[in-house]
C-alpha cells in the first residue's frame, strides 16, 4: 500500500508498517486526495482523525475507510515544530474534517492551514494552552504527565 502511495504521489511516504503509512506533512493533502480518488484505494470516508502528543513530536492520525471495499487505511503525519505545529487542512478532500480538525486544533493546538473556520470549539477563544498536550499543566521537571504507577502499587516504578 505504501509503495502504491509512493508511486501515486512521489515523495510523500516517510515510513510505513503493516498498519499505517506515515506521509510528509507538506504532501499530506495530495496523498489524501490520491487515496480518495484512486479506485483501488477508494478511501471515500474520513472515519476518524486525531492528534497524538508523543513528547518530542505530534502525530496527526487519519483513519480512512473505503465503504465499497470495506478496508481501512491509517495515515499519519509527524510534526516536529512544537510551538507552531501546522499541517494542511484535509477539508478540501473530506468535508467531514470540518469539526474534527477544529477539535484537534482546540485541544491539541495543531493549526490546519486552509481550514475555512478554524476556531476553538469546546473551549473559548483565548483559553490558555491546549489541554491534550502533555505539557499542558506545566508540571515540575521531575514529574511526568500521565499515571506513574497503579494506585494500589507501593513505591514508585519507572516506566
Amino acid at each position: 500500500m505504501a509503495a502504491l502511495l509512493e508511486a501515486g504521489v512521489p515523495g510523500s511516504v516517510v515510513t510505513s508498517t503493516d498498519e499505517w503509512v506515515e506521509v510528509r506533512p507538506e504532501r499530506l493533502v495530495d496523498a489524501l486526495r490520491w487515496l480518495h480518488d484512486d479506485p483501488e484505494m477508494d478511501a471515500a470516508q474520513l472515519s476518524n482523525m486525531c492528534g497524538v502528543d508523543r513528547y518530542d513530536h505530534f502525530e496527526v492520525v487519519y483513519h480512512l475507510q473505503s465503504l465499497d471495499q470495506n478496508h481501512q487505511i491509517v495515515v499519519k503525519a509527524r510534526l516536529h515544530d512544537h510551538e507552531a505545529a501546522s499541517v494542511p487542512s484535509s477539508y478540501p478532500v473530506y468535508t467531514g474534517a470540518l469539526l474534527q480538525e477544529r477539535e484537534v486544533y482546540d485541544l491539541m493546538g495543531i493549526r490546519f492551514e486552509g481550514h475555512p473556520d478554524l476556531r476553538r470549539m469546546f473551549l473559548w477563544e483565548g483559553y490558555p494552552g491546549f489541554p491534550l498536550r502533555k505539557d499542558f499543566l506545566q508540571i515540575s521537571a521531575d514529574h511526568h504527565p500521565g499515571l506513574p504507577h497503579f494506585p494500589f502499587e507501593t513505591g514508585k516504578q519507572e516506566r
Binding site: D42, A44, Q45, S66, L67, D68, Q69, N70
Partner: protein, 472 residues
Amino acid sequence: MTAALDPIRAARVPLTGAKLVIGVIALVILAGIAGGVGFLVVSGALDGHWYDLRDLGIPIAHLRGWLDEQNKAQPAQLHDLLGDHWISYLTTALIGAIGILSFVGGVLLVLIWVERRLIGRIQVRRGPNRVGPYGLLQPVADAIKLIQKEVLIPNGADRFLFFLPPILVFIPGLLVWGPVPWAPNMNYLDLNVGVLYLIAISSLATIAIFIAGWSSNNHYALLGAMRTVAMMISYEIPLSMALVAVVLMTGSMQLSQIVQWQADHNVWLGALMPLALFTFFFSSTAELNRTPNDIAEAESEIVAGFRTEYFGMKFGLFYAVELGNAVAVGAFVTAFFLGGWSLFGLEQWIPPYLIFAVKVSSVYFVLVWLRGTLPRFRLDQLMAFAWKYLIPINLANTVLVAIEVTAFNHSSLPGVVSLGAIGVVNLVFTVWVARRWARFLGYRPETEHVLHPSLQTQVGGLRAAERLRASS
C-alpha cells in the same frame, strides 16, 4: 413483566364489597330521582312555573316579572327617572354576569385538571394525582404557586405594554361567553348580530397577543407574535365563511335563532354542511393555537412563542384564557353545528343546558385528543392551507348553500326530503371538492406513499448506494 415492575397495575385495588354496596345504593337513589323528575315532567306540573329548572331562563323571567311588580310601588319620581324595568334589568344582568363569571372560572379550574388527566391517560401516565382527591386541587395549587412568583420585567421591555396584554386577552375571553345559548330562554346576551359579535370579539385578542410578543423584547416572543397574528388574520376568513354558510342556512345571525332552527328542523347543521363544520373547527384550532396548529407557541421551535417572557400569574392568565377559549370554541361548534341544546326532543326531559354542556365537553375532548395525538404543521403550510385551500372551497360552498337555501325556501317538499337532499348534496360536494382541489393544488397521495427502508444484507459504499438507487 411482573406486577411489581408495573406500578400502574400493582396499584389497582380490586373492588371491595363496601364499595359495591355504596355504588348500588347511589345508583338506586339516582334512579329514584330520575323517576321523580320524569313523573313531574310527564304530568306537566313543571311547565312554565318558576321552579321549572329545566330552563334557567324561566325562573329568571319569573323573577323579572316579580321585580317589575315591585318597581311599580316605588315613588313616582324615581319611577319616572329610571323607567319601568330598571330593577329587573339590573338584577338579571348581574345574575347573568355572575353566572357566566363563576361558570368560566369554575370551568377553568376543573378543565386544567381534566386536560392534564386526559393527556396523561393518552400518554400512558397518570397525570396529576397528588393534591386533593384524584389531584383535583392541582389547579388551585398551581394558581397559588403562580401568584407567589416574583414579578420580573425583561430588560428593555416596555413596562406599560408588557403588563397590558394578559388583561387585554382576558376581556374578549369573557365577553365571548355572552351570546352562548344554553337553553331556549337561557342566553345572556342574545344579540341579533351574535355571529358578527363573536368574530369581532375574537379579533380583539390578536392585538393583545401582538403587543405581548413585541413588548417582551425577545426574538422568540416576537416570532411567536408574528406567527400568531399572521395565522389569526388568515384563519378569520375561512372561519367567517363557514359562519356565513350557517347564517345563510338559518337566516339569522342570532345564536338562539340558529339553535332554534336546528331544533325545529330536527337536524344538526354539521350534518347538513360538513365542510363548514370542518372549516370552523380547523380554523378555530388555528385561532386557539392548539395542535396541530399551535405554531404560535411551538415549544420545540420558539420555546413558548409570545408568552416566553411571561411568568407567574400573567402566564397563568394567558394559559387560562387559552383554555377558556378552547371551551368557548366547543360551545360555538355545538351551537352552530351540533344542534346546541336540542337533542331530537329529548330536551323536554333532560335540562337543555346539560345537553349543551355534554356536547361542549365532547368537542373539548376532541380538542384534547388532537393535542395528544398530532404533530404540528409548519407556518407556511398552514398559511397555504388557509389561503389556497380553505378559502376557495368555502367560497364555492357558500354559493352552493345560498342556492340550496333559496330552493329550500321556495319548495313545498317535507323537511325530511329537502333537508336530506341538501345534506347528501353537501356531503358529496364536500368530498368531491376537497379531493379535486387538493389534486388541483398538486397533492398526489399515490406518489407520496410510505417509503419503507429497503433491507440489505451486503455492506457497500457509494457504488452500492447507486446500485440500490437504480434498482428501486
